[in-house]
Each structure stands twice: as structure tokens, then as C-alpha cells.
Symmetry: C2
Subunit: 449 residues, 2 copies
Amino acid sequence: MEESNVEFREWLELLDECKYAQLKEEINEENAANLAEFFEEVPEEKRLLVFRLLTKDNAAETFSYMDSDMQEDILNSVTDNEVQTIINELSVDDAVDFLGELPANVITRILKNVDEDRRKIINRFLNYPEDSAGSIMTIEFMELHWDYTVGKAMELIRKTGIDKETIYSCYVVDSRRKLVGMVSLRTLLLSKDDENVSDIMEDDVIFVRTLDDQEDIANIFKKYNLIALPVVDNEQRLVGIITVDDIVDVIEEENTEDIEKMSALLPSEDEYLKTSVFHLAKNRIVWLLVLMISGTLSSAIISGYDEVLSSSVLLAAFIPILMDTGGNAGSQSSTLIIRGMAVGEIELSDVLSVIWKELRVGVICGIILSLVNFIRILVLGGTPVMVNLTVSLSLCITVIISKSIGCLLPMAARKLHFDPAIMAGPLITTVVDSVSLVVFFNVAKMFVL
Amino acid sequence: MEESNVEFREWLELLDECKYAQLKEEINEENAANLAEFFEEVPEEKRLLVFRLLTKDNAAETFSYMDSDMQEDILNSVTDNEVQTIINELSVDDAVDFLGELPANVITRILKNVDEDRRKIINRFLNYPEDSAGSIMTIEFMELHWDYTVGKAMELIRKTGIDKETIYSCYVVDSRRKLVGMVSLRTLLLSKDDENVSDIMEDDVIFVRTLDDQEDIANIFKKYNLIALPVVDNEQRLVGIITVDDIVDVIEEENTEDIEKMSALLPSEDEYLKTSVFHLAKNRIVWLLVLMISGTLSSAIISGYDEVLSSSVLLAAFIPILMDTGGNAGSQSSTLIIRGMAVGEIELSDVLSVIWKELRVGVICGIILSLVNFIRILVLGGTPVMVNLTVSLSLCITVIISKSIGCLLPMAARKLHFDPAIMAGPLITTVVDSVSLVVFFNVAKMFVL
């Protein structure tokens, strides 16, 4: 991958020396993903110049790999005619991806310059809910009629295949455009020209509907190892396909979202370095406030037991260890359950076996931790044995309860149709904190007072 | 997807009624992923019977979709002859996946039954390090010689394509089997029969080496939207390909690993429900112990400031809020940075702009949080204003410091070639705890004493 950097430097030199013909030749041979990267290094005032050196095809493809800031930059500086060319050359799903990020008035201005047919399609796409099959599908798919012969199908593929997102999976429809089957290019190639497509096609084809959620679709791709998946409307008519390269992005996006939610962040699709400080702060402050205010409960508990604390200020020194260990133990459990549900390994119906498992894991971890803790405090010295007993026993009970809460919270959230990652990730610490403090002070009352 | 459950019930009935001929016909028409699921529902004593109803091809493919427990079950009950058939029918990467999970002596027993050539290949694969390109590649790829014509290439694809993992990307080698180019089936189809493969091939082909790490490979797939990627050895000879469906699994696996590490768990590839209680406890106790023992520091700090605490026991009530808010603020930052580095959006060279960003975000969040906190304590009443000031000021300072540590820890870990997810996720709370306590008590000394 290091080579491309050397290349970039050479091109920047060519640009400085105004050797445009040579630069044009060289960049038009590079792949679009690398070219989009190259544009990041071109000085802003020269970007348009370099972009215009690209052929029509290359310009549109490179454009589709750029990030949205760069895309807006380019579109703002080119002529209306050029806008039209780019949007027309982009595949519909790439155009929609890009337009979806823009404010409505800019979209209207851009769409003015686009062919009417295409404008209609793009508008329909922009209306699909975010994260639905409709919003990520492409309409450039290979459609065959069920009464075609293999020969006719191959002829059609040769003629129109160049514009399709993939020609490796072809979808078979009946006279009313209803999806009736799928045939791979491999099967077509290995069949005789006079065979009927309907005889060799797979008729038990897996499909999704326009409003299906992208996370479920990603799970279907994973389960069946698919390259592409057809999308149908309410009347079972074929309206698009989703290809695996888009699904790779979906998986990454959904994972990032889950990770962010579990760390008490509002999910964001923007790159960190390109997000403004104000926006970053906004995404964080909501949960920080909620969690801080819910921490009032912990404070109230500690205040409520102040006679215990006054009688032995030493106890306060063990509050952090107890709360942190409980929090860690609980979030270990909730993480495993949230992740297991997200990838489809754990169902709601597994709730009993999950609790039974966590209880036993909690007992094992609780006993080991409290034993080690007891020895640790003993070795360090200076702590009365009854205080040590209080801390160690509380630790054991807290770990067992935390593990149980840690598995129950995300499953309860799922049951109530809340997002487990949001409900359980950030909230678990708050809940466990209160529980561990109540346990601690009550054990202390028995042992120390 | 609901349909399959209905189907499963019908099949189980056929099985109960001993209608094997009908069952055989029906299950052999089902796809392998669903069949593997069906086997989960077949009573254990009848699994072998049902498995033997499958044709050779279907048996091997269904086998490849089963989880490893089921695979071992099946292999333990079939004859040596059947073992041989299954392993020979499996694609090499599936066979290796499966064998890699077994103890060495079982592998030896199974490989005894396999053709010598295949045994050699499998053995070579088993020696590639886990998570390397070699361990996930397949050798069933379409290889073309650089002096072929398109006609000859298409003939070869028609003849041998059936056994290849994909025929949609064909790889071009020279006389010494060195990789010199790639040509898609689409391009071949759209070219004339007498053209030379070397004239139409893409010669600037992206490739990886056998020992490259799977996470880097996944990033290459994402960047270039690939369906397949060739793997070469040290002499640049083509030895295998990696297809996107395997990469989807890699991405999911790597994400799960990162999420687990960030939640203080040892990463595990096993499904939660199939992992033993003892094993689950083992994966959790290590970090729980480390974090608990490192919590000694917090205890020591609190004990060290006991004259402050004794003078106002009330202060203890605010320790949880302070520590939790600091921990949450820090882990928000570390999560964004760890994730950003994992998906390649943030580089080490961005360290200055990251710190500058986090400092400003920290100031905004810190000021808002401490203002809200001040009002909260004021409204609840019962707390002297100097204690309130102490808590609120400490909160602001803690949040700013936590955000800075939260971004620095993962980047320092990466710099030192440690895993950021392990280093920064679990450790951040411990570090932030100590910092927040020191800040708190020192502010308290100024304001309260």
C-alpha cells in the first residue's frame, strides 16, 4: 500500500510543473478508491483542475468514493452541466447516498439538472426510511424473463451487463415483473444455449422487502453467504438488489453504532476528525447528564447511611473498589448478552439458561474475587478484620447480583422493544452502583456497628 | 424466514412416520444453511440417519454450515469411508476451518482417510498462523495463463468453473505462476474470443501476502469494494484467494473481539450459549482481578486524605458521582479513538488535533455538567455551598482531564504496539478514578478545611 504514496508525490510534482497531459494519463489509470484519497492531498485551489482531467466515467466513480465534504466542495465549484454529468454517471445508490447527506434546498438545485426519469427514481429512493432495504439497494441489476432461453439471456447480459452493479446473480421475473427465481452467471455459463432459464433457475430464492431493516439483511447475508440479495415491493415485484459490498459497510456501521451506544454516546455516522467540537460535545453531554443526575441515587444512599460511615470513615476507602468491581462484572455480562443478541446467537427464549449460567459464573467470580480481596487487605494491614470481612462479603454478593442484572437488563430491554445497547450499556453502572452501596452498608451494619 | 420453521416441523413429522423417501427428496432441495439449522432440531439419535439421506454434495455443504460441536458429533458417528467423502467434498478453507477446531490426535485420525494431495494442502493450511491471510484463503480459484485468448479462457472456465469458489474474478499468472493481472468474468464476456487475456486484464492488481493480518485485509476489502482478493507467497506466486463472504465473518469476529476487550473480557470465539460456565468465568476473572487490585490505589488515596473526609463525612456522598462521571467521560473519548483507529479513520499522526479537540470538548462538557450539578445540589438542599462548590469545580476539572486521558491512552497503546482496545478500555476507569479522587480532595482542602 506504500506505493500509492510515492505515486501521489509524483503526481503532485507533475501538478506543480503544470504537466497536465502526463498527469491526466496517469491518474486515469488509477483505481477510484486511491484517486479519492489522492484528492485529499491536492491543494484545495487545484482540486477542480485535477478533477476535470478525469474522464467522465472515472470522474463519477472517484466522486462516489470521496467523503461528503469533498463531494460538496466539488459540486459547489463545477458548472451545472458538469453536475448533471456526474449525477447521471453515478449509480443510483451512490447518488442517493450522497444526496441524502445534503440539505433539502441543495438537493432540489442539483436534481433540477438531472434527467426526469432519473430524478423520479432518486426522489423515490430518498423517501425510503434510513437503514431500510430500499435506501441501500441499487436498481442497476440484471433482470431476465422467465421464458428466456440461456442463449437469449447471455446475449442480453453481453449487451446491457456493462451498466449493472453485478451480472453474477441474475434475477428472473414473470410477465408481471414478479420475482420468480434467481440464476447465477456460473449456471448460465455451464448450461446449453437452448435450455430455458426457468428450468435451470433456483426457484426457492431468498429475498427481502423494501422496508426491511438493514441489520436483519446483514444477518441474512452472513447466514447464507450471499453476494447479492433481491428486494421486492408489496406486490412481490422486483425493485432492486443489495450487493455484499454495501453490506460490509452496513455491518461496520451497525457495529460502530452499538459500540458507541454501549459507551454512553449518541451514535454518529460522521468521522471523528471531521466532526466539529460542538457536535462531539452534543453527542456526549446527553448521557453524561442523564448518568450524573441518576447518580443522585448513589449520593442519597451514602447520605442515608451516614451514621455507618461516621462510625468508621475507613469504610469510605472501599467504596470505589466495590462499585468499580460491580460495574465491571455487570458490564462484562451485559456486553456478552447484547453482542450475542446482535449477532443472533442469543434469543429471548434463552432467558432462563442465560440467568442460570450468569448466576453460576457470578458465584465463581464472586468467591475468587472476595478471597483475593480478603488476602490483599490482610497483607496491606491497618484494616480491622471486621471491616475486611464486610468488604469481602459485600464484594461477593455484589458480583453475583451485578452479573444477574447485567444479563437481565439487555434482555428486558429487547423484550420491551428498546435498544439493548442503549438501555443496558450506560445504565448498568448506575444500577449496579446503587445495589453495591446498599449491600455494602447493610453488611457493614451487621459486622461493624 | 418464518416459512422454514413450518418446513422443519413437516420434516420432523415425516421422520417420525418413517417416510424417508419423501424426506430425502424434500431436504435435498433445501439450501445448506437452513439444513444445518434443521439438524439442530433433529433428535440426536436420528441425526446420522437424516444426514445419510443427503446427497454427497449436499452432505458436505450442509456439514460446512454446522457449528463445530455438531460437526464433531457427525464425524464421530459415521464410517471412515464417509469421513473421507465429506472431507474430500468440502472446499479446502471449510475443511481447514473445521479441522482447526479439533484436537491434534483427532485431526491425524481424520487426515489418514484423506487423499494424499489434499492432506498435504490441508496440513500446509493448518500451519498458517491464525488470523493470517493463509488461514482464511481458499485454493479453489480460477487461474488463467497470461498468453491465453479470451476464447480459451472461457472454455477453461466452462470446464473447471464448477469446482471454483468464484469464477467472477479470474487471476492471470505468467509461466512461473507469478501473479501478473486480474480479469473479471464480466470483462471476458464483453470481449471478443480472439483477444488476448493479457491485453484486457487489469495489471495493477491489489494483492496480499500469506502472512498478512486478516484485520488489514478486511480494511482493503472495505476500501476498494472487492469481491475477492488474491494471495501471493514470498516469490509473488499466486497461492490462493480470499472471498468477501469470508471477510464478512472476519469483520464480525474482529468487532466482537474489540467489544469484548473494551468490556474487560478476554476475547473468545465461542458462542455464549455453548461456552461452559467455567470457561466464561475464566475469561472474566483475569480482568476483574487486575482491576480490583489496581483499585487499591483509589483506596490508598481516600485513606490518605482521611482528615479531609473526617472533617466532612458529607463529601463521601459525592465520590460515586464524581468517579462515574469521570469514568463515563473518559470512556466516551477512548471509545471514539479506539474505534476510529480500528476502522482506519484516525492515525497516530493525528494525535495533536485529537488532543486539541478533546480538550475543547472536555471544557464544554465540564462546564455544562458542573453548572447542572451545582443547581442540582442547590435544589436538593442540605449541602453547604462550599461543599457544593468543591464538588462542581472538581467535576469540571475531572471531566476535562478524563477526556484528555481518554484520547491519549489508546494512542499511546498503539504507539507502544499494545492493543488499544485492551489497554485503554478497562484501564481508563482505574486511571480516571485516581485522578478524580486526587482532584476532589485537593479542591476540598482549599474550600472546606
